[in-house]
Structure formats: C-alpha cells, structure tokens
Symmetry: C2
Subunit: 126 residues, 2 copies
Amino acid sequence: MEMIEISKAEFEVLEALWCQYPATANEIIDRLNRDKEWHEKTVKTLLNRLVKKQAVGFEKQQRSYLYSPLLERDTYTFTESKHLIERMFSGRISPLVAGFAKRNNLKKQDIEELKSLISKWENDHD
Amino acid sequence: MEMIEISKAEFEVLEALWCQYPATANEIIDRLNRDKEWHEKTVKTLLNRLVKKQAVGFEKQQRSYLYSPLLERDTYTFTESKHLIERMFSGRISPLVAGFAKRNNLKKQDIEELKSLISKWENDHD
DNA sequence: TTTTATGAATTACATATGTAATCTTTAGGT
DNA sequence: ACCTAAAGATTACATATGTAATTCATAAAA
C-alpha cells in the first residue's frame, strides 16, 4: 500500500523502463523517442522524480547509472484501475464493462477473453 | 470529443451535482459535506473552475445561481475509463479484469453481471 | 595533464490543482 | 433609504506537473 503518485508523463518513462531493465538513461530516452518526441532533459527530470518517489532505483555503473523499476507494472496498473473503478463505479467492475458494451467498444476477442477469465474464475471458486 | 480535463476534486463536485440538478452552490456544498469536510470556499472555487472548463453551466436565479452539469456522468466516466485502459492495457479490457481476478477482487456478483453483459452482447451481435 | 564532452544534479518556469481568504455586489432586513 | 450578510468573483499560495536549461563533476580525449 505504498501509494506512490505517478503522473502521466512519469508513467510513460516507467513503461520504457519496464520494457527492459536495468537500463541507462540513454537507453530509456531512445526507447521513448521511438514513439514520441521528448527532450533528453525532460526524460532525465522525470527519471529523477521517479527516483525521488521511490518508483525507480539505480546503481552506479561508471559515470552513468543503471535504472530499475521498484514496483511491478502489474501491481501499479492494478492499483490505478482499482482506484478509478472505486471513484467512478463504486468499486464494481461491471459498470465499466457495460459502458464499453453500450458504446460498442467490445470486439469479439474481448468477449472471448472475458468468457475465458470467467470460466477460470468459476473453476477456481469451487 | 471535447476532452475536458477534470481533476479529482472537481470530479467530486460534479458527482454532487449529477446526483440532483439543477442545484445551488449551497445544496452542492451540503451534499459534499455529508461525506467529506470541504470548506465552502473550496467548493465554490471548484465550481468556478468547472464552469470555466464548460463542464458545468448555470442560470441566474435571484442572487444565487442554479448549476447544472454540461456533460453526462456516463459519458465522462466512459471516456476516462477508456483512456486509462488505452494507457495501461493497450486498449484491451480483459487485462484489467484479469488483474482483478488475479488479486481476488471479483465477487460472485461481479461474475454474474459480466456473464449477463456477455450474453446480451452476443445476442446483439447476430 | 589540461580540455572537453557527457551524465547527473540543480534550477527554472508556466500551468494545473488543492485549498482558501478577500473583495465586490446586491438582495433583504430594519 | 441604509446597512449588512451572503453569493459569486477575484486573488492567494503551496505543491504537482510538463518541459527544459544551466551547473557540476568526472571520465575520456588530446
């Protein structure tokens, strides 16, 4: 329950790090610049803030550092989703899915995956 | 696709308004103070910001105003959920549900609701 | 060894956000 | 008609965030 607050921009940096780590600042910058156009300095700032927030750690490697995430992507995305669902749907997940269904935002594949999740859940719960 | 950015605090004010409108500032303040403890001035500021962002409108009523939301709750929560799901799950909804399942955050009722949504979807799609 | 270039640390600065206090206007009370 | 209290408008101020530029330290080049 560390409840680290991570901004949108910081999250993107974390994504680049989760994708493969440990990684140097430059590697992270390169990964990010494949999609977006962020100034090197900007990324460094975000990395620093993530370190301050204890979302990222590093170990010295000669002149540069090797950064690693201190929280798992899975853990973080779950926590964030849960908060959003608590704030907007009283913690219930189906209203969210219902919104997607209502607006035709579900594809066949989504339905199949959900069905599979449900079977698995039912199997696990006796 | 107006893409109005609404902060967490602003969202709570909107909630109080969605719950019943049109409403005066005082009514909104009273509703909010049933749960939390926000200063009257704070709520007024948030209301003002929502008006500036065109998320809330009002019509003069003697000295005080009658406020009304300019966007539907349903629309807003869908947009927000969609953005989160795009950012963290590449737009796919099942990884989110999977996270809930994995961490034992689904109750029987959730499963039932999901199953019902799925049947409905399948019915609607030929 | 002196210079330089590069990585990290610090500082910058505008806008957003949380949280109010103060100012202005005017409906209501006396 | 005048004063006051309450509603909205404006201003305030600290922290967060997006987006960098500047400074400092030092390994690498000359």
